[in-house]
């Protein structure tokens, strides 16, 4: 049976940032740079981790390879339709999590003071 977009949730932090970076077509190095930039330097993905993750995500049909004639030595990646949905669903899941818990966490913080 084929996996539905919500079967991939929740995503790991690294996977979420990788998918987010693929809002534009990128090669491996560019993904690493974007993840570091977008996460304000907090998330740094190693090349071994990224290479493994890209292979896995491609196999699952979440991302796809793109060949560019002007740069045949590098593989470029982009989100598939499934990948776009996975990213959006994960964002919505986390947003709900924040909405549902915000008031309680704020209360806990004011009690602590």
């Amino acid at each position: 049976m084929k996996k539905q977009p919500d079967d991939f949730l929740p995503l790991s932090q690294a996977t979420f940032y990788i998918l987010l970076s693929l809002r534009e077509t990128r090669h491996g190095y560019s993904i690493m740079q974007d993840v570091e930039l977008v996460s304000n330097g907090v998330v740094k993905i190693g090349p071994g981790t990224l290479y493994g993750a890209l292979g896995k995500l491609e196999k699952q049909g979440v991302i796809k390879q793109i060949r560019l004639d002007e740069d045949a030595r590098r593989k470029y990646y982009a989100l598939t339709e499934v990948g776009k949905q996975v990213l959006k669903l994960e964002f919505e899941r986390m947003q709900k999590l924040i909405q549902n818990s915000r008031n309680f966490i704020c209360e806990m913080e004011s009690e602590d003071q």
């Binding site: 790991s12 690294a14 090669h27 491996g28 190095y29 690493m32 740094k44 993905i45 190693g46 090349p47 071994g48 981790t49 290479y51 493994g52 993750a53 292979g55 896995k56 030595r73 590098r74 593989k75």
Partner: protein
């Protein structure tokens, strides 16, 4: 300079640490052939070594990716164990894996790879030798070697399983 040393697949981290330590002392790993490590001497340099276990259909692209991010490809073993190094004096991450789950994945790939070798090169030839048993000396020698290797492999599977368990994170 040459050095003979055997590392089993589950000890890949020890191998990396050893190569890095040798490099700190001015001996830089360049080539690997059947348990023999070849080093180049240069006391001015120092490298950090890392090994990626990876099978790929496009090797040029894979190595280019590592070069892009500052890791120089050094050599490979079976086309599966890829040795990389980067200048220890430059800033940057010391590890090519940045989370536990990708370390776990790499040990899982090793386990799969060695299981195939185990069946194809040890179990199948063994059953072939036994099914054509004539009690010849050469057959006895072959069986002895095979049994020895099978014991090593079983130990290796046990050690790999332990590593995989260690790097599997419980979701709280």
């Amino acid at each position: 300079m040459k050095r003979f040393r055997l590392f089993l697949a589950p000890d890949v981290k020890k191998e990396e640490a050893w190569l890095t330590e040798m490099s700190e002392n001015g001996l830089h790993f360049k080539k690997y052939r059947l348990g023999v490590y070849y080093f180049e001497e240069d006391t001015d340099k120092s490298y950090i070594y890392q090994i990626d276990f990876q099978s790929m259909n496009d090797k040029t692209e894979y190595l280019q990716f590592y070069r892009d991010v500052g890791w120089e490809p050094v050599d490979h073993n079976f086309g599966m164990f890829h040795y990389f190094r980067r200048n220890a004096k430059e800033s940057g991450a010391d590890k090519i894996y940045s989370d536990a789950s990708s370390v776990k994945d790499s040990y899982q790939r090793m386990l799969k790879f060695y299981l195939i070798i185990f069946v194809a090169l040890l179990v199948l030839p063994m059953s072939l030798t036994i099914s054509t048993w004539g009690g010849f000396l050469i057959q006895k020698i072959l069986v002895c070697i095979d049994v020895l290797l099978i014991i090593v492999y079983i130990y290796m599977f046990y050690a790999l399983r332990k590593k995989i368990k260690f790097y599997t994170q419980d979701v709280l």
